[in-house]
């Protein structure tokens, strides 16, 4: 797995070596296993309130429609529930968040995924870094407490608020992917990361490896790129630097998905029934491994040789896929 190539993207490198990390990850997290909590915090000004509502609402819509997360597994809290009565489950107060997480904790099974996505404003620093809410704010320490019951689940925690960077240290832990819109509590200007993260999860443009799903890492990288582009477009100083930390240099985030229904080349995680197809699938996997191994040599072997070898392997892979599809009755498209 390569580190993010997005300029300025910052993925903390963990001590775990890549191969070991991939082995330790076990199975890929699946859509039907995801529990999603979306919270739109205090808007303050009408424009901000509308932005947070719009980002969170569109994420809610696509969670069900595109990501395939069951409605029952989605909890959506906003500042003004009355504006979106069909969707919103309650007001985004500190108590409601605590209750929602406690409720999910009773339902989530080991190996499933909890995703918490926060939109709004942030303030404070360190353990007291806060997510601004109607009524009392929720601090990073609060979330650390509320997440304790999720030791057996994979946790994806996305704090897309301003000054959110300090949530990283407080919430970091095993099997957790923590994303913040800023690198520290000092980046206090309003953040647009949430908008682009929501869009990345909802659309197809972020599916960079074309496996039919947008991983958390892909969504992060896409959002990061779009944020930088917006600041460049607006000719403003880039005052938000999003951070992703999973303790494994992005390897966990790369294999974490909040959905899996979509895509013309879905992840091949099932074992084929037909032994012939099974054999072809194994050959395909070997070819994919060979391609990855070749890519790792890029720049160290003559370019011409690299290109020839790459083309050979990619052609073989394409033909292998074609054969698999044929045997599965799909024919070629």
């Amino acid at each position: 797995m390569a580190l993010p190539k997005v300029p300025g993207a910052r993925v903390r490198r963990g001590p775990v070596r890549l191969a070991m990390a991939l082995m330790a990850l076990g199975t890929v997290a699946r859509a039907q296993d995801t529990h999603l909590l979306i919270v739109a915090g205090l808007g303050g000004e009408p424009d901000y309130a509308e932005s947070f509502r719009s980002w969170s609402s569109s994420l809610h819509a696509s969670a069900e429609k595109h990501l395939g997360i069951a409605r029952a597994n989605i909890t959506y809290l906003t500042e003004s529930p009355e504006k979106d009565p069909g969707r919103v489950d309650g007001k985004s107060t500190r108590d409601e968040i605590a209750k929602a997480l406690a409720r999910i904790a009773t339902r989530a099974r080991p190996g499933e995924t909890l995703a918490v996505i926060l939109f709004g404003h942030g303030s404070g620093a360190g353990e007291e870094a806060r997510f601004n809410l109607p009524g009392p704010d929720a601090s990073a320490r609060d979330f650390a407490t509320w997440l304790v019951p999720f030791a057996l689940q994979r946790v994806v925690f996305v704090n897309a608020t301003s000054a959110s960077g300090d949530f990283q240290k407080v919430l970091a832990g095993k099997n957790r992917v923590i994303l913040t819109a800023t690198k520290s509590s000092q980046e206090r200007n309003e953040s647009v990361f949430g908008r682009y993260f929501s869009e990345a999860l909802s659309g197809e443009g972020a599916d960079v490896d074309k496996n039919g799903q947008v991983s958390i890492l892909e969504a992060f990288e896409a959002a990061k790129t779009q944020v930088a582009a917006e600041y460049q477009r607006e000719r403003r100083l880039l005052t938000e630097h999003a951070v992703l930390d999973d303790g494994a240099s992005g390897a966990i985030a790369k294999t974490t998905f909040l959905g899996g229904k979509r895509g013309d080349t879905p992840l091949d995680t099932t074992t084929p029934v037909d032994p012939a197809v099974s054999e072809l699938s194994q050959e395909r996997r070997a070819l994919e491994d060979a391609i990855e191994a070749l890519k790792a040599t890029k720049g160290t072997i003559p370019a011409e040789r690299y290109e020839q070898e790459l083309e050979r392997l990619l052609l073989e892979l394409a033909m292998k896929n074609e054969e698999i599809r044929r045997k599965q009755g799909g024919g070629t498209r």
Partner: protein, 897 residues
């Protein structure tokens, strides 16, 4: 890299001068007070002189000398007053008379030396100073400094330096006590600074100490001059301001302030020079400076006359000789130039000053190669001249010799680390590793690596088109490659152009080197890089045809005229500002049009002059065909003056052409000008306020043909969500003056209202009217392309999208639209171009982008490029199904027998 402004150097250049910061005097544009010499009370001669009450000072000093005929202080005061008011001959007579009375007065010899220097008799002055020194004058240190300078200047550098070093010893051993002594030490240190930059700081320290006890203003003037010499306009101005608060008529302080203003690019410089010369009509430095200003205006005869006047006063003034040489050089009078040059060299054999001055004047007149040659010659005379090295380096850069420039600028900076131009330029050169040079036909594109992929293709196409068109019209082909540089930071472009940040221009042409702001250097929609490039390439041609002798107004006028010919909406169009200025009679006569560019009376006059000049070029072409313009440029190439060039090329005098032009202009502007009424002028002293609804309605009631009132009221209604009223007034405005394209243009709000109402055709019509006249309105183009596409008018939609490339080509959505439209119109070349641009914009989904490019390459018939692209796609996403299929398709097609 950010450019330093001149004042930033204050910290580098020992800001030890504790000068009080007070409001500058006089304010820019303010009239300089007339000289009135009316002392309220009788003051001592020295005090009256200090206050600039010259008649009083002269009377008092004469009385003092009469009373005490052997009093050397009285002599010094009288002489100073006479010299400050330009009575040089009388000053000499007074001193000589004194010496008849007191022949052994060493102090009087020193004073005589000063008078003789001002009168240009440097050898006699040397003798006088020697006598002063041997006679142990009280001002021996001053005499030592003056003698050292004379020796140094005439090439006896070792002898001069020895005397300067003695002055440093005198200071260090406590012998320099008086203001005069300390000034002498400062002058010596300033000269020592030529080989040791730290000595400049010592000079400033000495002048500062002198200023604390100086009864005249000499120390402050020298502080100001030193700061100016070291590129610190702010501190220089402070020093001159202090003097002028005490003596508003001090000629040197007025001259200093003029130079400081000029340094900062402010107005009011000629007025200050006039004031300086009113006090002292024989101030040679002021005349030489005025000569330089006239040269910048390309008025060579007047510049020469002014320099000659200065030399009548002081035949060995280095500044006046340099000014004369520059005027002669630029007028193409080679024999006279050579004579002056020899004259200067005889007086100052090891000095680069004269040739550097001529080189810089050549730069201002766009003769960059000549300037580089002159700087090289200057360097041969004085190899350690930082000014010559700097001039050579800057001109090498203008000519595209980056490495040569770097070498010489580094040498210059080592000798003079205070030079802000050199510092900024070296900083800029350090960023050149971020750029790439693309050789394409006759062009060398020098582009930021991050921008090159997107910018190079349309830039190459446009540059080729422009040079094809312009070469055919003007009969000129550049013999050398044309270098086009684009800077993504405006500050860098500005440093590249003038060495300092803050230049307002968008592009510059140095002959065969063109530099422009890249589209990312300014706010999106702030300018059109395509028209800017076309404009600069037109300069390449007009400078080339005229051997760089074309006057500024004409080369600018032709460039704008050519922009307008290139694309609809490009180049300046008739603006509201121009119409109002025309109505107010602010058009400049043709023979003064250069002033509008070089010494504008107000900032807006520059853009008015561009447009006026472009109309003149258009007028000449309309009357005489393109041959008229071509012949005019060729006439300039022979060194002809404007008068003679007009006669030769057009068979008419400048004034005759101007009369014909004004008549044509009157006819052309009669209708729109009648519709313009300026805003009600604000009450005196109040800033202009937006006109109220009531006032606008009253204007319309009075005159329903008041374009401005309708346009403003329409916009007001639009802002206040009153679409019916808005549309009524906006459409009325559009019908009154359909050419309106600026801020006041009614078309964009009309289009907005019509879109909301669902009147797509109406919106399209309004937007077409706008983009046909406005080259920068990106939003209008985006909306228009969308509406046209929606109506199935794909051809037009694509044309509009293509025009947006010249505003901001870094928008992925623009290229997506181009690709989509071109694909529908079956234009595989354009699809491919757009897809390539998208790849360069570093899309999130690169695998998809490469896949789309592969499809486009295949459609365009380039299977090899398609295979390359599809491999890049699959390298990123090996499982990408559609890409795999395309790879197989390409492979199978290639395998077919």
């Amino acid at each position: 890299m950010k450019g330093l402004t001149a004042s930033t150097l204050a910290s580098a250049f020992a800001a030890t001068s504790a000068l009080a910061l007070q409001p500058p005097f006089p304010s820019p544009g303010a009239r300089v007070p007339q000289v009135t010499f009316r002392p309220a009370v009788k003051l001592s001669a020295i005090e009256a002189l200090r206050r600039g009450q010259y008649p009083g000072a002269l009377d008092a000093a004469r009385e003092d000398l009469l009373r005490e005929p052997q009093n050397v202080t009285a002599l010094a005061t009288l002489t100073k007053a006479l010299l400050e008011t330009g009575a040089h001959a009388e000053a000499e007579e007074v001193v000589r008379t004194f010496l008849i009375r007191v022949p052994r007065s060493a102090d009087a010899r020193n004073i005589l030396g000063d008078v003789l220097v001002v009168r240009g008799r440097r050898a006699d002055a040397e003798a006088a100073y020697l006598k002063a020194i041997s006679g142990r004058a009280a001002d021996t240190l001053a005499a030592q400094a003056s003698l050292g300078i004379l020796l140094y200047d005439r090439g006896l550098r070792a002898e001069g330096t020895l005397r300067f070093e003695r002055l440093v010893i005198a200071y260090n051993t406590g012998l320099a006590r008086t203001a005069s002594d300390l000034i002498a030490v400062g002058r010596a240190c300033r000269y020592l600074g030529a080989s040791n930059p730290d000595a400049f700081k010592d000079a400033l320290k000495a002048f500062d100490e002198a200023a604390a006890q100086d009864e005249t203003h000499e120390a402050r003037i020298r502080i100001g001059d030193l700061f100016l010499e070291k590129f610190n306009g702010t501190e220089a101005r402070n020093a001159f301001d202090i003097v002028l608060r005490a003596n508003p008529h001090h000629p040197q302080a007025l001259l200093g302030l003029a130079r400081a203003r000029d340094f900062d690019g402010e107005r009011g410089v000629p007025d200050l020079l006039d004031a300086a010369l009113e006090t002292n009509p024989n101030l040679t430095e002021a005349r030489a400076y005025r000569s330089g200003l006239l040269l910048a205006l390309e008025d060579f005869p007047k510049a020469r006359a002014e320099a000659e006047k200065a030399l009548e006063v002081n035949p060995s003034s280095p500044a006046a000789l340099a000014a004369l040489a520059a005027a002669q050089y630029l007028a193409g009078d080679a024999p006279a130039f050579e004579e002056t040059r020899k004259r200067g060299q005889a007086l100052f054999p090891k000095s680069a000053e004269l040739l550097v001055t001529v080189a810089e004047a050549a730069v201002r007149n766009r003769l960059y190669r000549e300037a580089a040659n002159l700087a090289s010659e200057a360097l041969a005379l004085e190899p350690q001249s930082w000014a010559a090295l700097s001039s050579l380096g800057q001109n090498q850069l203008r000519l595209g010799d980056v490495e040569g420039a770097r070498r010489n600028l580094e040498k210059s900076f080592a000798l003079d680390p205070f030079n802000v131009w050199v510092k900024n330029t070296l900083d800029l050169l350090d960023t050149f590793s971020n750029y790439t040079t693309i050789e394409t036909g006759p062009f060398r594109l020098f582009l930021d690596k991050k921008e090159a992929g997107v910018l190079a293709p349309p830039m190459t196409a446009l540059a080729n088109e422009a040079m094809r068109d312009l070469s055919a019209r003007y009969g000129y082909t550049s013999r050398e490659p044309i270098r086009i540089e684009a800077y993504p930071s405006h500050a860098d472009f500005s440093v590249r152009t003038v060495g300092l940040a803050g230049l307002g221009a968008l592009g510059v042409c140095f002959g065969s080197v063109v530099a422009i702001d890249s589209p990312q250097a300014r706010e999106r929609g702030a300018f059109n890089w395509g028209s800017t490039l076309w404009h600069e390439l037109a300069h390449v041609v007009t400078l080339g045809v005229s051997s760089s002798r074309v006057p500024r107004w004409l080369t600018e006028g032709i460039s704008v005229h050519e922009e307008r010919r290139a694309r609809p909406g490009w180049g300046d169009d008739l603006s509201l500002e121009f119409l109002l200025a025309y109505k107010l009679g602010e058009m400049l006569p043709l023979r003064d049009l250069n002033n509008g560019f070089i010494r504008p009376k107000h900032p807006g006059q520059v853009s008015l002059s561009y447009y006026q000049a472009s109309l003149v070029a258009e007028h000449i072409e309309a009357r005489h065909g393109i041959a008229g313009l071509r012949n005019l440029l060729r006439a300039y190439a022979t060194g002809a003056s404007t008068e003679s060039a007009f006669q030769t090329a057009l068979g008419r005098s400048v004034d005759q052409v101007d009369v014909e032009f004004q008549a044509a202009l009157k006819e052309r502007l009669a209708r729109p000008a009648a519709l313009m009424r300026a805003q009600t002028p604000p009450a005196s002293g109040r800033p202009p306020q937006p006109e109220s609804r009531a006032s606008l309605e009253a204007r319309i009631a009075e005159d329903d043909r008041d374009f401005i009132a309708h346009a403003l009221l329409g916009r007001l209604n639009h802002r206040e969500s009153r679409p019916n009223d808005a549309l009524r007034h906006l459409e009325r405005a559009a019908s009154l003056w359909p050419e309106s394209s600026g801020e006041e243009s009614p078309y964009f709000p009309i289009a907005q209202i019509k879109q909301i109402r669902g009147d797509v055709d109406g919106a399209i019509e309004a937007l077409i009217s706008l983009v046909a006249r406005n080259e920068n309105h990106d939003e209008a183009r985006t909306q228009l392309a969308t509406l046209l596409e929606g109506k199935g008018r794909l051809e037009e939609a694509l044309r509009v999208a293509e025009s947006s490339v010249f505003i901001y080509p870094f928008d992925p959505k623009l290229h997506e639209r181009r690709a989509s439209l071109a694909s529908k119109l079956r234009r595989p070349g354009t699809v491919r171009e757009a897809r390539r641009a998208l790849i360069e914009l570093d899309p999130v989904d690169k695998a998809e982008a490469y896949y789309q490019l592969a499809l486009a390459e295949l459609d365009a018939g380039d299977r090899t490029a398609a295979r390359r692209a599809i491999l890049r796609s699959l390298e990123i996403a090996p499982r990408f199904g559609r890409a795999q299929e395309l790879l197989l398709k390409i492979h199978r097609e290639e395998s077919k027998p």
